[in-house]
């Protein structure tokens, strides 16, 4: 059995790039939400969490409608010579959308746990909102943010439905491990499917290991951080 390792590379590359964007977007979204009034907050929270509860195929379909040739965005992109659908970028886009809610919710939870007195104390001490964000909120929320990022990575790695819908199964371009497993199995290549399954299990174990390491660290920081 000769194995083509491109799904592994595509999967890792896709997940890493997706998590890079998700990380920033999730934190910014969580922080922005704290600044708006409660009604807007509620609406945005629903929108930001939606990809988590929607079936991935539905997400994929919506993305197809948004970025397809017939849509405004799609036709604009094709005019400037760009295309998203059925490219590697599409796998990244799908991974960002499905992993974003996990990152966003983790960051939101971590920010909400910060004692508001700390934020007000910082304000009365004269620190700008940006400085407060960088020097106080991010460090205190870091354990939660990191575990959110790891979860988001795991989710991006496992993405199948939306990826298949908007990126298709193009070997060496958009074929990630989950797609490779599905199509290997469908073609009767049980051994190949088994091999990729094993790879996914190993990666997942590593991810869980890192998560647990962080949650221990999280507790340490919380214990060390109890100012009361």
């Amino acid at each position: 059995m000769s194995i083509d390792f491109s799904p592994l590379i595509i999967s890792i590359k896709t997940s890493l790039v997706a998590v890079f964007f998700t990380f920033i977007l999730g934190i910014v979204a969580a922080r922005t939400l704290m600044n708006v009034n409660s009604k807007v907050q509620w609406i945005l929270d629903v929108i930001f969490t939606f990809p988590l509860v929607l079936p991935p195929t539905v997400v994929g379909f919506i993305l197809l409608v948004i970025f397809g040739k017939n849509s405004a965005i799609g036709s604009f992109l094709s005019k400037i010579g760009m295309s998203i659908i059925f490219t590697w970028q599409a796998t990244v886009l799908a991974a960002i959308i499905v992993s974003f809610p996990l990152m966003y919710r983790a960051a939101k939870g971590a920010f909400e746990q910060i004692d508001t007195n700390l934020i007000w104390a910082a304000r009365t001490l004269g620190l700008s909102e940006f400085k407060i964000f960088i020097k106080i909120m991010i460090p205190l929320a870091l354990p939660g943010i990191i575990s959110g990022a790891i979860l988001a990575f795991a989710r991006a790695l496992g993405e199948f439905g939306a990826t298949l819908m908007i990126a298709g199964n193009i070997p060496k371009v958009t074929q990630t491990i989950p797609l490779a497993i599905y199509f290997a199995n469908a073609a009767g290549k049980t051994k190949e499917a088994g091999f990729w399954t094993l790879i996914i299990i190993v990666i997942s174990l590593i991810v869980l290991g890192i998560m647990n390491y962080w949650s221990v660290k999280d507790k340490k920081i919380m214990r060390g951080g109890d100012a009361k």
Partner: protein, 355 residues
């Protein structure tokens, strides 16, 4: 160095109506929990926005509903010490202290931090994190952090409430010394009579969102003029009155008539005296003496509390008078009761007439 506050704020069913003018002094705001004293501090710091009114700190308008001014907390230069100290857990003692110092070079900053570490006896702790400090040390770091940025006003919100009672006593002196290093307006909010009496030059009485009276601490404790003032400074014996004539009043709860030297004003509604200000004998000394009997004897570790019932009282529970004596004094009184009647009297100086 002064602050002028005249604000209102409605929050649910609570209505804050704070009016204060504080000079270069240490003012204690004494009040029960939920009376609006912390809220007043938060309004000054810019954490809570009042509905209406003005806050002016050293000629700088922090808030004015008329002129539509509402400075953000960062621009107010106030120093507010939170009840839980709010030290940043991810920063060392030095980092916590230096954070509020602005417009200084890093060398100047270092020097300021060093001087405050010395001043507050924190030299050996500069690289520790807040969680590695005792409660008293945390309190000093919190105070140093605020004072290092030279605020125009210092506000302390229940600075001792996060500490154990035995610890409080031992660090009070250090805290008081540290506090005296600040040369400006200080507002000290507390529900503790002891703390306000020890730390503050003047005292304001706050109840249910309103300030009832403000005077020097000595005056407030010696002779509060309002019902709230008497209650909050610890008066246990308070009775509504009926004015009999210019110089005499009837305490309705106790059925006792008191003769007063000065003219009794019409706005006087209550009479009060402290639990330590009543003397008891078996002689009817003068016309301000009144007959009473002992209702209950309560032992506390170092004192004895006597609950007395005036002879003319009608309701046993609401009409009692509470007195505090040393164990010996109390025993004398209890022994006196057996052969004969007991008479109580209160010196005219110790009678408080309340609005």
């Amino acid at each position: 160095m002064s602050i002028y506050i005249d604000i209102t704020k409605k929050l649910g069913s609570f209505y804050l109506e704070s009016q204060l003018e504080v000079g270069k002094e240490k003012l204690g705001i004494l009040g029960g929990s939920g009376c609006g004293k912390s809220m007043t501090l938060k309004c000054i710091a810019g954490i809570i926005t009042p509905d209406k009114g003005e806050i002016i700190l050293n000629d700088k308008i922090l808030f004015s509903s008329k002129k539509n001014i509402n400075l953000i907390p960062q621009k107010r230069n106030t120093g507010l010490m939170f009840q839980n100290y709010a030290l940043f857990p991810n920063m060392t003692v030095s980092q916590n202290i230096s954070l509020g110092i602005t417009n200084k070079t890093s060398i100047e900053k270092k020097n300021i931090v060093k001087s405050y570490l010395d001043l507050f006896k924190l030299q050996d702790l500069e690289n520790r994190y807040p969680s590695q400090l005792s409660g008293g040390q945390q309190q000093r770091v919190a105070l140093a952090r605020i004072m290092a940025k030279s605020p125009d006003i210092l506000m302390l919100d229940e600075p001792f409430s996060a500490l154990d009672a035995h610890l409080r006593f031992s660090i009070e002196n250090e805290f008081s010394e540290a506090l005296n290093k600040y040369n400006g307006t200080v507002i000290y909010v507390s529900h503790s009579i002891d703390e306000v009496y020890k730390f503050c030059d003047s005292t304001a009485i706050m109840h249910n969102g309103r300030i009832f009276e403000k005077n020097t601490t000595k005056h407030i404790f010696k002779g509060p003029t309002t019902l709230e003032g008497a209650k909050l400074t610890g008066c246990k014996n308070i009775s509504p009155i009926k004015k009999m004539n210019q110089n005499s009043i009837l305490a309705l709860d106790w059925g006792i008539t008191f003769n007063i030297d000065n003219t009794v004003h019409d706005d006087i509604k209550y009479i009060s005296f402290r639990e330590t200000d009543i003397s008891i004998s078996n002689l009817c000394k003068n016309k301000n003496s009144f007959e009473l009997s002992i209702l209950r004897i309560k032992q506390s570790p170092f004192n004895t509390i006597l609950e007395l019932l005036p002879a003319n009282a009608t309701n046993v529970d609401s009409n009692k008078i509470i007195c505090k004596y040393s164990k010996d004094e109390a025993n004398n009184i209890i022994n006196m009761q057996n052969p004969g009647k007991l008479y109580g009297s209160v010196k005219k100086d110790n009678i408080l007439l309340l609005k």
